[in-house]
Symmetry: C2
Subunit: 463 residues, 2 copies
């Protein structure tokens, strides 16, 4: 437990203004207000050296620490479970170097995603990932979460963009280590920086990022299609890959139940008049407007002519495009007004992608107000949300562990992009076998006293 | 040392036909005939279970093992240094599952790269990486090497494509572990499979691969440009990114000395008549021929109109394109006829990319027959080759460690894509600091007795 002397040490390292011991609610409580810790202290380092000094002290005193970025995570990973020290990366945001000739970026981990985009835009570049929380999430948190999002289809995963990471370890020395480099090709050691992508702060604290930005697309197009069957949604995805090829940047799936939920709970009307059973949102990002328009036209014509789509609307301007994205992006909270919301984000091979929604509807019957399914279909990423009037153990027992076991049995992952955190901890080991032990060994190597973000993804002290 | 009893055990596991104890030269000698080990035995498992049984036995007997794929590596990483058992993955190639609706591939590590392409082509897909040795290199070796190559510019690195790996560890149980999954999005554990990409067989033996193939481009275009100065080569790269955007698939740099070497040693004439100081080969891969042609036309016109290129030729057909690539691809061996060839493959930030060639020319003077520089310029990957009449310690002492130290000082990597193996081992630690110790700890975790590929990238027994 933290003592006065610890606070003095922290104040000596950081200055009084960067040690918070009151009004800690925003740091103890997660974004969805599901998880609440009881930390007595939040620290705001402004450099890797300060992070190092903090971790050195916490190591020597056996104090648990939870690294926190924008605190926008959805699985309770960035808040304390008990009284862990909150190590906020918010103020570690001074450095942002950018080379407009190559797109390479070297920056502090506390830079806000949107701010990175704002800095890159005048130079004709953009960040290769995007997420709903871009206005407050931090790049270091993006890395630790292994953020997915919609643009992954166009630009690939974080593993494709991050070339190096500066990480502070919670070891005896608070070691500051530069993993990887700023070069895209570097085969001079184990590619260790990839271990920290998606690590949820279990192995070390990411304080600096070397990465590649991508040229800002000069043309962005958005369209929505109405579809009768899930099988035809798959056909349309194949058609989109064929016609839109290298400019296809998003293929979002929204089932009819999701659209009804938007209508009933949010008074948001679909842009399609046919009230279709399924909706897909298709986006392109390219470098040549005339070419991109022709590709989109050909795609839409063929989808309609072949009868795969029963309805279709293309956004005529940025405002219409924004409305289509609003429909999609508000879905994670659209069922909240029903009373209780159980959110889950799984990935499944496409042949099983939608089956689970129907299975859950049958299984839960009238216990659920609704089961809605939407997500980044091209990657099999299915956000499956179940709402009810109130929380009940009976409902949850019908959902879990069934949903996780079914997903693993069908070759999927029980957390596509949200991560494990506190929320999925109970199920994280299903089907994993020896991997779980190896992760635990890695944890102990990098964080010998296991003081980083305990009681979450890795159960470091299990036998 | 291997005893008769070990051979009996191996024969029991694999059958007599898959244990070779004679004519071992091809397995003891590397591709460039620089390194030669003295192994007494090469093993040819056909399944992960057999690999597991072999490693279990080698662990119990403290026998060192070198995993070997196509043996096409350029740094002596895949051959024994002394009498290590050669574990060839050649025959582990039965399984190749492919889903044409998503492009996902699950296959054995012993599949030849070209064969994978041949299987994918009829379904409209292709592998997202390419390399000169495609006719004999194996996918598992590509993963272990962290292969780069020209297509990385278009499709990204291996870290972008590989979603899961089956690995056999050299531990007590010969543990067979499935890291990652076949899903592109899987945030349910540490992303451990990335640790094996570029690991040079130091941590485990990759026996199975889950990955995503990419749609085969319907249009490929190649052009060569003559350029007066290196600075203008950089300008042309920026112009290519702007005009060719998402279809730019290669930007290869060839200096004048390289082109002269092709002429003198290989009787291969440039396609450009102006005998320029620098040459760039530009390739596009796209999905719409009319669009791609227009983009290439615009790019070439502007490069010439702006005076950045002094000369330019576009390949009119596949044959001409193949000839342009032949010029580039034969360069690694073009200086061999000079007598002695010192090959190096570094990555450098673009501002220093070419400086090193001129510095080496000055430094080596008449000791070198020639210094040629060519490579994947977009990633800063510079293949810098020095030839002389004969090998001399004096020449090598002028090159090393200077070349490595200069590269690190200028923010580069001393091995862009070839790796460390035996060749770069002496210099692998320059500028790495604590990373080297961490790699060693990882090595010991996954390979407790350090029997995998000793005396190479990781010096496991250093203090």
């Amino acid at each position: 437990m933290i003592e006065d002397n610890d606070l003095s040490v922290f104040e000596k390292i950081l200055g009084k203004n960067n040690v918070l011991t009151e009004d800690l609610d925003p740091y103890n409580t997660d974004f969805l207000h599901i998880y609440k810790g009881s930390s007595k202290c939040a620290l705001f380092p402004t450099s890797s050296e300060e992070v190092s000094a903090i971790l050195r002290h916490c190591y020597s005193r056996n104090l648990a620490v939870v690294p926190q970025s924008g605190n926008t995570g959805l699985v309770g990973g960035s808040v304390p479970v008990y009284d862990e020290v909150v190590l906020s990366l918010k103020k570690l945001n001074k450095n942002f170097e950018f080379d407009p000739r190559t797109g390479s970026v070297e920056c502090d981990a506390g830079v806000i995603l949107e701010e990175a985009n704002n800095r890159l835009a005048p130079e004709g570049y953009t960040m290769p990932w995007d997420t709903g929380s871009k206005g407050s999430c931090l790049l270091g948190g993006n890395v630790a979460t292994g953020v997915g999002g919609a643009r992954m289809l166009r630009y690939g995963s974080l593993h494709n963009h991050i070339t190096g990471l500066k990480v502070v370890l919670a070891d005896k020395n608070g070691s500051v280590v530069n993993f990887g480099s700023k070069m895209k090709k570097d085969n001079t050691n184990l590619h260790m920086h990839h271990l920290f992508i998606g690590s949820e702060g279990q192995l070390g604290v990411v304080t600096g990022i070397s990465m590649c930005a991508v040229p800002k697309p000069s043309c962005v197009q958005v369209a929505m299609l109405g579809v009768n069957t899930y099988s035809e949604c798959r056909d349309i995805l194949q058609l989109a890959r064929l016609h839109l090829g290298e400019i296809l940047s998003a293929f979002e799936f929204i089932d009819g139940a999701s659209m009804r939920c938007l209508d009933e709970n949010k008074k948001l009307r679909s842009v399609l008049t046919s009230n279709p059973s399924f909706n897909v949102l298709v986006e392109t990002m390219g470098s040549n407007e005339a070419h991109d328009k022709e590709k989109m036209d050909n795609f839409l014509k063929e989808a309609l002519n072949k009868g795969l789509a029963v309805d279709g609307v293309q956004a005529a301007n940025a405002q219409e495009a924004a409305y289509m994205w609003k429909l999609r992006n508000i879905l994670p909270i659209a069922a909240l007004p029903d009373g209780f919301l159980c959110e889950h984000d799984i990935a499944l091979p496409l042949e099983y992608f939608y089956e689970i929604a129907d299975i859950l509807r049958q299984r839960l019957g009238t216990m659920a107000t609704r089961v809605i399914s939407f997500g980044h279909m091209a990657e099999g990423d299915n956000h499956i949300n179940i709402s009810a009037k109130i929380y009940s153990n009976e409902l949850m027992a019908k959902i879990y562990p069934f949903l996780c076991e079914w997903t693993i049995e069908h070759g999927g992952s029980i957390s596509a992009e949200h991560g494990i955190g506190q929320e999925r901890r109970t199920y994280a080991q299903i089907g994993k076998g020896y991997q779980v032990d190896l992760a635990r060994q890695l944890k102990r190597q990098f964080d010998p006293k296991c003081i980083l973000s305990p009681y979450k993804m890795i159960d470091a002290f299990a036998s």
